[in-house]
Structure formats: structure tokens, C-alpha cells
Amino acid sequence: MAKFKRKIVQVLTAIITNGYLPGFIKGDIYRGNLKRFCVPGLNCYSCPGALGSCPIGSLQAVIGSAKYQISFYVLGTIAFIGTLLGRFVCGWLCPFGLIQELLHKIPSKKVRISSKNPAKYSKYLILLVFVIILPMFVVNVLGMGDPFFCKYICPAGTLEAGIPLVIMNPSLRQAIGFIFSWKVFLLILTIIASVFIARPFCRFICPLGAIYGLFNPISLYKLEVSSEKCIKCNKCTKTCPISIETYKTPNSPECVRCGKCIGACPTQAICSSFGFKEKEERPKEIEIN
């Protein structure tokens, strides 16, 4: 039931954040005031249906502009959402996360990669280099930097914006070249990887997931494990698509809050909560004979 509820929220969020239907008909994008605001998940603002702005695209746009070096507005927005929800956004509110999950449902041999695999740190490197350093320092004569992550990496942009706009727009079709082919190649790689590995983009590439992950240990939305009930059977780790040892690290930066561990726990030791309060653990009673 919880799994079904999450899927409904994911689909509804994808529809609401990409609800500008004329865009898909005309091959154009929404140009209204809602685009002042960032959506919580990674959703390209050049998707024909996008009603809001992508936080990572916006961050690069402000950093790469001639006027600013840093974006208080976008970083503040990400920090606010991160403090409230952490990577709950990835598991429940991100359209590209939903796409990867649907691809992973395609029947095939699945590859499990440990949550301790050092490849998880690559997303922090991408955040630092492609989202912050390059747009800030590699600038043209006007002092403007490119959004390097969007330009050279982001497969969500290729899928949600690049392909639909190029199909529907003859002038854009004429302008495509090597970078478009490179981005389509990365998209195909992401699609193939998603069939075999759970959420490969979220785990190894996504700079937004990297930021939200840092908030997981302190966000208001959190997982809690009762040490009284936990029998350390490791079922949570086996059920977790990212192989997190939930009973040891319930608020790991890698956890996308899918909640599968909650349903899998045979003793109901794992629960989620939202708020400032920490669950108080009662010390185990010691039997004295």
C-alpha cells in the first residue's frame, strides 16, 4: 500500500511540475512567472511542460551570470527544502527518479551495488566541478559562464527538453551537432544502466541528490530505528534498492527515503517521522536473577 502511495505521489508530482500542455502541442516552453520558483526535484526548465525552474540549472545560471558569483536565492531554496525533507525529494518528488524506477522494473538480471561503494562520491565531484567551479571561473569576455552540468552531462535535460523540442522544432533540429549526440549517448547509457542498477543517476551523478543527501542526517523528515525492537536480521539492507544498512545508518546520505525497509522489517523497528523531536530510546532493562 505504501509503495502504491509513493508511486501515486511520484506520478502526480511529475504531472504537476510538467503541467503546461500547450508546450507539448506547440513545441515551445512555458514563459510565465511561476518560473521564478524552483521545483524540489531535478526537472529541466526547458521541458515543454515545465512550470517551474530546475534548482541545479538555476544555480548554474546565477553563478554563471556576469552579475553574481553565488546564488543566495537558489542555495537558500535547496537548503530550505533539504532541511525539511532531505532526500525524500529524490524518492517521492523527482520526475527523473520516477523514470529510473520505471526502467528498473523491466525484467532483467539486476546488479546490486553496495551503498559503501566509493563511486557514490562521484556526484559530489560533479557538483563541485560542473555546477560550481566551471560556471564560476570558465567565463567569456562578458564574464558569463556556461551551465556546464546542463551542457555536457544532464540526461534529464536531454530526455525532458532536448528530444521533445528537437522533434517538434525544425529550426532546433537543424542546429544539432556533436554536443547533442554526446548527450543522447549519455542518456542511452543512463537508460541502460537504470534497467540493471537501481537509480544509477541518483546514486553516482545527481548533484542535487548530493546536496540533499548532506541534509539527510538532520532533516525534519527522518527514519528511526528502535534498538529495542531491532533483531539485526538485515532484511532492511536486503530490501533496500541502494543496499543501505538501515538498522545501522537510518539517515544515510544515500537513502532516497523510498520506505521499502519500513515495510520489510519483521519487527516494525523502523519508522519514519517528521518534526523537530528525536525519538527517545528507553534503555534496555537488565534482568538480574
Binding site: S46, V62, Y68, Y73, G76, A79, G162
Partner: protein
């Protein structure tokens, strides 16, 4: 400890958003978002 940190982060993030609005960063976001981002598409 964590409770205090959460409050600090919430207040700091709201403050940061307000500073960004005051500095008119929102306009930069809006201008970028209402024009087709050629880099996102894979052309720019």
C-alpha cells in the same frame, strides 16, 4: 543539538532566499527559465 541545528538551518535558508530576492537573483533565474536553454537541449 540537532533540534537547534534544524532551526538554525531553516532560519538561515529563509534568510538566504530573502537576500537572493533583494539582490534580484530571481530575475536571472526567470530570464534563464523562460527562454529555451540551448545548453540543456544540447545545442548551445
Amino acid at each position: 543539538m540537532k533540534k537547534g541545528l534544524r532551526w538554525i538551518l531553516l532560519i538561515a535558508s529563509i534568510g538566504s532566499i530573502l537576500i537572493g530576492v533583494y539582490r534580484e537573483e530571481v530575475l536571472t533565474v526567470l530570464v534563464k527559465a523562460i527562454n529555451i536553454c540551448l545548453e540543456c537541449v544540447g545545442i548551445g
